[in-house]
């Protein structure tokens, strides 16, 4: 409990530095990750993380002791080498990218594990701290280590911000970018390097196995909330730093818990919440929208059926007659009638259901829109489907006035035009009956 208090109040200088570092790391990963995801380089990021491990081990062989800077440099070189191998395999063989990624990821990682065992079997090997690189351990980092990570993360964010527009164009339309004279290979290389650096500074805290998750998951979660690139970058950064802060914070409280898994679990939690609840692209709002639309269409179908019965001179309609009109189950029909009755659109009379005065107006509007729309699709759709929003209820707000006037005239001639709910001049002149 005391530990928790110390953590929350940030009394401990080391904890403060580690948390700040983790937050900045997450920010960088979320921001760069946005472009990794949009450029479809997410898995290459994962491969780079795994490929970095032998680099850390070789750095230990060269330096001979635990040296954070040397480890990171070794990791970066090995990671970029791994990415380069993927590019080479893809360019010069018939092997596809996914297989190339698998080959490089597994081979480099296997080599890394083998090298780390050799180091750990040496007398001084335990002090190398290589294990922290595999699963990540924030508690093992010194303030100096964290400062290096923080500064690098800030640099990554700044560079990505400066180049965000170019990266965006590269991801969206590489050929166009090249056509205006951009050196797209250089841009790709810079982006790949930023991803690589981001992965490498994530290794000590999050570990080889899970660093890529910090790159991919926050950015993918951000996509659910927005259709704007800049918002996606911001949200990706926010989700990333939340994951980093919470994950490393928990791991600092419980030192036996590696930071990597906790960071990834927090990110995954954010992702699941986004997937389900995000208003733009989330699953729940989408199914609510579908459900509402279905309810509206069923109600409109009921009103249309009643209106058509009225046109035939039947004022009251039995449920059996309504059921025969459409593929309604008894339950569906009962529920939509109950709903319409609650809204004051229909009432039950002696012979069956009838439209209330308000129901008559509403039904006329629905039928009118429906018939105009039907006629429009038949007569004009080949000319101007682009100017039509099929979801809209009010045709007069979508169709050009002259087209609407012509359609109304045609319908009126066939005596099939119900009155407009808000009488518009064109209609007044062309048809006078209900």
């Amino acid at each position: 409990m005391n530990d928790l208090l110390r953590l929350i109040t940030l009394q401990d200088a080391t904890t403060r530095t580690v948390l700040l570092g983790a937050g900045l790391l997450g920010l960088a990963a979320g921001v760069v990750g946005t472009f990794a995801v949009l450029r479809r380089r997410a898995l290459v990021g994962d491969a780079m993380a795994h490929a970095a491990l032998p680099g850390v081990c070789l750095a230990y062989f060269v330096v001979g002791e635990r040296s954070f800077g040397a480890f990171l440099l070794g990791a970066l070189i090995a990671g970029l080498l791994g990415a380069w191998c993927i590019v080479l395999i893809r360019a010069h063989t018939r092997i596809k990218e996914d297989a190339a990624i698998g080959i490089v990821l597994a081979s480099f990682f296997g080599l890394g594990i083998a090298l780390s065992r050799i180091i750990q079997n040496r007398p001084s090997g335990n002090r190398a701290g290589l294990d922290t690189f595999i699963f990540g351990k924030a508690a093992g980092m010194t303030s100096a280590d964290t400062r290096l990570i923080g500064i690098t993360a800030v640099t990554i964010v700044a560079l990505t911000y400066l180049l965000a527009r170019e990266f965006g164009l590269l991801c969206f339309d590489r050929a166009f970018s090249a056509s205006i004279g951009r050196r797209v290979i250089l841009l790709d290389l810079i982006l790949m390097t930023l991803i690589g650096v981001c992965v490498v500074i994530g290794l000590p805290a999050v570990g080889v196995v899970m660093t890529a998750a910090l790159l991919i998951i926050p950015a993918a979660a951000a996509r659910f909330w927005t259709d704007r690139l800049w918002v996606m970058i911001l949200l990706g950064g926010l989700f990333g730093s939340l994951s980093g802060l919470l994950g490393v914070g928990v791991s600092a409280l419980a030192p036996r818990l590696a930071a990597g898994p906790v960071v990834v679990l927090v990110a995954a939690g954010i992702f699941v919440v986004s997937l389900i609840t995000a208003p733009t692209r989330g699953l729940l709002p989408a199914s609510v929208r579908r459900w509402r639309l279905r309810r509206r269409i069923i109600l409109q179908n009921l009103l249309r059926a009643m209106h058509e019965a009225n046109e035939r001179g039947e004022v009251e309609v039995t449920e059996a007659a309504l059921a025969a009109k459409r593929a309604w189950t008894t339950d569906q029909l009962a529920s939509v009638l109950a709903r319409a009755a609650r809204s004051g659109l229909v009432v039950h009379g002696p012979m069956g259901w009838r439209l209330t005065p308000r129901g008559v107006v509403e039904a006329a509007a629905v039928v009118r829109t429906h018939r105009l729309w039907e006629l429009y699709l038949i007569e004009h759709a080949a000319i101007a489907p682009d100017h039509v929003d099929r979801d809209a209820d009010q045709l007069e707000h979508i169709l050009p006035p002259d087209v609407l006037a012509r359609l109304e005239e045609q319908l009126a001639m066939r005596e099939r035009l119900p009155p407009s709910p808000h009488a518009i001049p064109v209609y007044e002149g062309s048809a006078a009956h209900g």
Binding site: C171, F172, S177, A178, V231, I383
Partner: protein, 259 residues
């Protein structure tokens, strides 16, 4: 192939002896063509005839195995700012998180450089371009919410925002509705009236005489090029589309086997 009516001054593009190969397989062979300035030029030919590759060769997007390209008498580096490009619509991810206005604004990046942000005049140019293609009401829409024809108009607006002298368009009419087709034709004619040159890969042979002044008929080699009235003949069409699987394929196989 030399145009009768085009002296050196009236030439927008000179493609000289260009060969392009992908993975050692040639897709354009010894193509020699002059594109006259201020004309609407169709590039026609069967699938795999190298139509897109010809555009990309002019834009410097593919390495030339041999030959050279001159644009208004300059090499590519000198002519970069004069070029506008409309790639195939299918070549990009339309689920990308940008709006129609954002895409059109990309047409201004060429003059902005890597770091400088678009200014008010760039936004104004993008707005004018969107207005010209009748898409101003859709400016804030995310691009996946646009129909195919609307997406094609957005691509055209981006090219307009480039304010280039020579436009290279890869199938601008592919998969668009009738109203978009008419809107595009109107914009192309406006461009011609303003002295711009447009080279467009085109699939609908029937509309070639109506929409275009010149035609380049391609089937890995240049079959014919010139004013539509002179070269768009049944004989040339047969040469372009008829004997596709015979000589050239065999020759290509032989080169590949020998390499």
């Amino acid at each position: 192939m030399i145009e009768g009516d085009a002296g050196k001054d009236g030439v927008a593009v000179e493609v000289h002896d260009v060969t392009v190969a992908y993975h050692r397989r040639p897709v354009l062979w010894d193509v020699d063509v002059l594109i006259p300035r201020g004309r609407l030029v169709a590039v026609v030919g069967p699938n795999g005839a190298g139509k897109s590759t010809l555009l990309k060769a002019i834009l410097g997007l593919v390495p030339l195995a041999s030959g050279r390209v001159e644009i208004f008498g300059h090499n590519l580096r000198g002519a970069r700012g004069l070029l506008g490009y409309v790639p195939q619509r299918e070549s990009v991810d339309w689920d990308f998180p940008v709006s129609a206005a954002d895409v059109v604004l990309m047409g201004r990046y060429g003059r902005l450089g890597w770091i400088r942000r678009p200014g008010p005049e760039d936004r104004a140019a993008a707005e004018t371009a969107l207005r010209k293609v009748g898409m101003i009401e859709f400016a804030r829409r995310q691009i996946s919410q646009l129909s195919g024809g609307q997406q094609q108009r957005v691509f055209l607006a981006r090219a307009l925002a480039q304010d280039a002298a020579l436009y290279l368009m890869d199938e601008p009419f592919a998969g668009v509705d009738a109203s978009t087709e008419r809107a595009i034709v109107d914009v192309l004619r406006e461009m011609r009236a303003a002295g711009k040159t447009v080279v467009a890969v085109h699939h609908d042979l029937q509309t070639v005489p109506e929409y275009f002044d010149h035609v380049v008929m391609l089937n890995m080699r240049l079959v014919a090029a010139g004013p539509v009235a002179d070269v768009f003949t049944r004989e040339n069409l047969l040469k372009t589309y008829g004997g596709r699987l015979t000589m050239l394929e065999a020759a290509a196989e032989a080169v590949r086997a020998g390499a």
